[in-house]
Amino acid sequence: MSAGRDLYLVGMREVRTRLRSRAFIISTAFILLLMAGALAALAFLSDRAPSAYRVGLVGDPPPGLDGALTVAAATSAALVGTESLADREAAEASLRAGRIDAALLPDGTVLVERRGAVELEALLTLALRQAGFIARLAEAGIDPQEAAGLLLPAGRVRFEALDGGDDPGGAGVAVATAGVVVLFVVISSYGQWVLTGVLEEKANRVVELVVAAVPVRRLLAGKVAGIGLLGLAQLLLLIGVSLGAGVSLGLFALPRTAPATAAWGVAWFLLGYAFYAVVFAAAGSLVSRQEDAQAAAMPIALGALAVYLAVFIVVLPAPESVGARVLSFLPPAAPIAFPARIALDAVDLWEILLGMAVMAAAVYGVVRLAARVYAGALLSGGARLGWRQAWRAARHMAGG
C-alpha cells in the first residue's frame, strides 16, 4: 500500500479530530483576538486611525453636498456623518457639547470650535468646492448624482521618492510586526500540538497498534502534515480576515508589498512549521506521560522565543543590518526573520531564494534526525528517554 494513502489516512484523522476539538476552536478564536490587537496596534503605528467626523448642517445644504462629502471622505479614508440643526445657536451648542466637529451655515461658513483640525478642514473645503462645482454642472444640465460619480478618484495617486523609499514606513513596519507575531504564534502553537499529539499516542499506547500497520516515518509525516494543514488554514484565515477587515474598515491602506508579503509569509510558515514540528514531535516521543509535556516542550519553546525576541530586537529596527542578514540565514530564525525583512522591503529576491534553499536543506536534515529519534523512542516503549538513547535505539530502523 502506498505511502500517500498512509499519509492521507493519518493526516486526515488529525484534521478531523482536531477540527472537532474545543482546543482548536478556542485557539483559533484566541489567535483572531490577538490579530484584532495587532490591527489596533497597526492603526496606531501607521497613524492612519480612522477619523470619524460629524458635521451639522444648518438650513438646507447645497445640493450635491452629500455626494461630495462621501467622495471627499473616501479620498482621505475618513468617515463623515451629517445631522440637521435648526440654527446657529443650536450648532454652537452642539459644537461645545462635542456632539459635532463642525457645522455648515447657510451662508457657506464653516463653524468649528477651534481651528487646526487639518484633515477635517481640508475635507470640508474639498467637499464644499465640489458641491459648488456639482451645482454649476446641474445648472448646465448634468444630473447631480452623475456629477458626484464623476468626481470619484480614478485611482490612487502614486508618489515616488528620490531616496527610493516606497512606503512611508508605518504600514510596512506594522505588517512586519504583525507578521512576526503571527508567524511565531502559529508556528510554535502548532508545533506544540504536534508534541502533545505524539505524546498522547504514546501515553495511551495506541501508537503500538498504529505502528504495527504504518511505518513510523509515515506516521510522523502524516501527523505533521495534517496538523500543518490546519495551521495553514488558520493562517490563511487570519491573513484574509485581517487584510480584508483592515482595508474595508479603512484601518490602513494596503501597502503595495502586502500581497507579496502574505505569499512569502505562507511559504516561510510552511518551512518554519516543518522545522519546528518535527523537533517538537521528537521531543514528544521521548516522554510518555502527559505531565512531562511541559518539560519536553520547554527547551524548544524557549529557543523559539529567543529567536523571536532576537528578530524583534535586531531585524525590525534595522532590517538591512549585518545582524539581520545573519539571523535570517540561521534556520531557527529564518522563518520569521525573512518575512519581516520582506514586509519592510529590505531584502533582494536572490537573498530570499538563497535563504529558502538553506532553510529547505535544514528542514531535510532536521526531519532525518528527528524522525530517527522519534522512531527509536516510540519503539522502545519505556518511560523517559534521552535523545542519544533514542538515536541509538533506532540504529536498525534506518530503512523503516
Binding site: 500500500m1 489516512l9 484523522r13 499506547r205 495506541v206 503500538e208 504495527a212 527509536g376 536498525h396 530502523m397
Partner: protein
C-alpha cells in the same frame, strides 16, 4: 505458517530474546507461555515489527516478513490503548483502512463487529465514554476487523471474568477455524490447555518446549500419578524414579518415569493399602511448564 527464527534482542546488555524460535500454523491456536520477563511480549512485538532485532527474522509462508504481510495480521498489544476521544465506529473503520481495507469495507466490518460484540448502539460514542470492559471489546475488534491471516494476542485473557473469557475463547476458535494462525500468550495454564492445539514455552529468551499439546504431553519423560489409599495410608514406592510431587488431604501426586507400567505401579501401591483413587496420565501443562522453566 508464521515463524520466529532465532530471534535475538537485548536491552542494555540484558538479553530479552536469546535465539527464540517457534512456529504458528494456519488454522491452529498456539499458546505462548513463559514466566514474567521471559521474552513473550518482546517476541510478539517483533512479529509486528515493533522491535529492532539484534538477530534472527520473522517469516510468513516461508519468506521474511514485511509491511504488506504485517498489515494482514491482527494484533492485541499487551498495553491496550486506542484514541480515547475518537468515536468508536469511526476509530475501528480508520484502523481497518490502515490495514488496507476500503472505506466502505472498513465501515461495514466495524459495524459488523460492534454488532457482534453487543456495542452496535455505542458506535457514535467516544471510546472514553465506554466502560473498561467495553473498551476491551473494541480493542479486540480492532485486532479482528480486517480478517487477519495471523492473530497475535498478548495476554488476551488477562482481566476477563470467566464468562468474558469463554466468549473470547469462542471468538479465537472461530478465527482459527477460518484458517487464521493464532498466537497468544497467557499465564492461565488451564485455559491454554483447554483452548490451544499447540504450545510453546519460553524461558530466559529461549523457547524451551514447543509442539502440539498432545505431543509434548506424550513426549514428556514423566507421567503424573494421583493416588489415594484407604484411611490415608502412606505409600513408599519400591519402583525406581518415582518422585512425590505434592500431598493433599487424602491423596498424593507423584511424578513417575514415562516408561513405567501402570499395572506394576498399581500392584506396588496395593501393597501399602486399598487403592481408592488411581489416575495415571500425561503431565498437565502446569507440570510441563514448571519443569521447563525449572521452577
Amino acid at each position: 505458517m508464521l515463524e520466529l527464527r532465532a530471534l535475538r534482542k537485548s536491552y542494555g546488555g540484558v538479553p530479552a530474546l536469546d535465539g527464540a524460535s517457534l512456529a504458528a500454523y494456519p488454522g491452529r491456536i498456539l499458546g505462548f507461555l513463559g514466566p514474567n520477563g521471559a521474552g513473550k511480549t518482546t517476541a510478539m512485538r517483533a512479529v509486528l515489527g515493533l522491535v529492532a532485532l539484534d538477530g534472527g527474522e520473522v517469516a510468513w509462508q516461508g519468506r521474511p516478513i514485511g509491511l504488506p504481510q504485517r498489515r494482514r495480521f491482527g494484533y492485541l498489544p499487551e498495553q491496550r490503548g486506542l484514541y480515547p476521544r475518537m468515536r468508536v465506529g469511526e476509530q475501528l473503520a480508520w484502523l481497518g483502512r490502515l490495514h488496507g481495507m476500503t472505506a466502505a469495507g472498513a465501515r461495514r466490518a466495524a459495524a459488523g463487529w460492534l454488532e457482534r460484540l453487543g456495542l452496535a448502539d455505542r458506535a457514535g460514542a467516544r471510546l472514553e465514554q465506554l466502560s473498561h470492559g467495553n473498551q476491551q471489546r473494541v480493542q479486540l475488534a480492532a485486532a479482528l476487523l480486517h480478517d487477519p491471516e495471523a492473530l497475535v494476542l498478548d495476554e488476551p485473557f488477562s482481566g476477563l471474568d470467566p464468562v468474558a473469557a469463554d466468549a473470547l475463547a469462542e471468538v479465537i476458535r472461530h478465527r482459527a477455524e477460518a484458517g487464521t494462525a493464532v498466537l497468544f500468550s497467557s499465564h492461565q495454564l488451564d485455559l491454554v490447555q483447554e483452548v490451544c492445539e499447540d504450545v510453546a514455552i519460553i524461558d530466559r529468551g529461549r523457547v524451551v518446549l514447543a509442539g502440539s499439546l498432545d505431543e509434548v504431553r506424550r513426549r514428556a519423560p514423566h507421567r503424573r500419578l494421583d493416588l489415594a489409599l484407604e484411611g490415608g495410608a502412606e505409600w513408599f514406592p519400591t519402583l525406581a524414579g518415582i518422585e512425590l510431587l505434592g500431598k493433599r488431604p487424602g491423596w498424593a501426586t507423584y511424578l513417575v518415569p514415562a516408561g513405567t507400567d501402570p499395572a506394576a505401579l498399581l500392584a506396588d501401591a496395593a501393597r501399602a493399602g486399598r487403592v481408592t483413587r488411581f489416575s495415571f496420565q500425561p503431565p498437565t501443562l502446569s507440570d510441563l511448564f514448571r519443569e521447563a522453566v525449572g521452577a
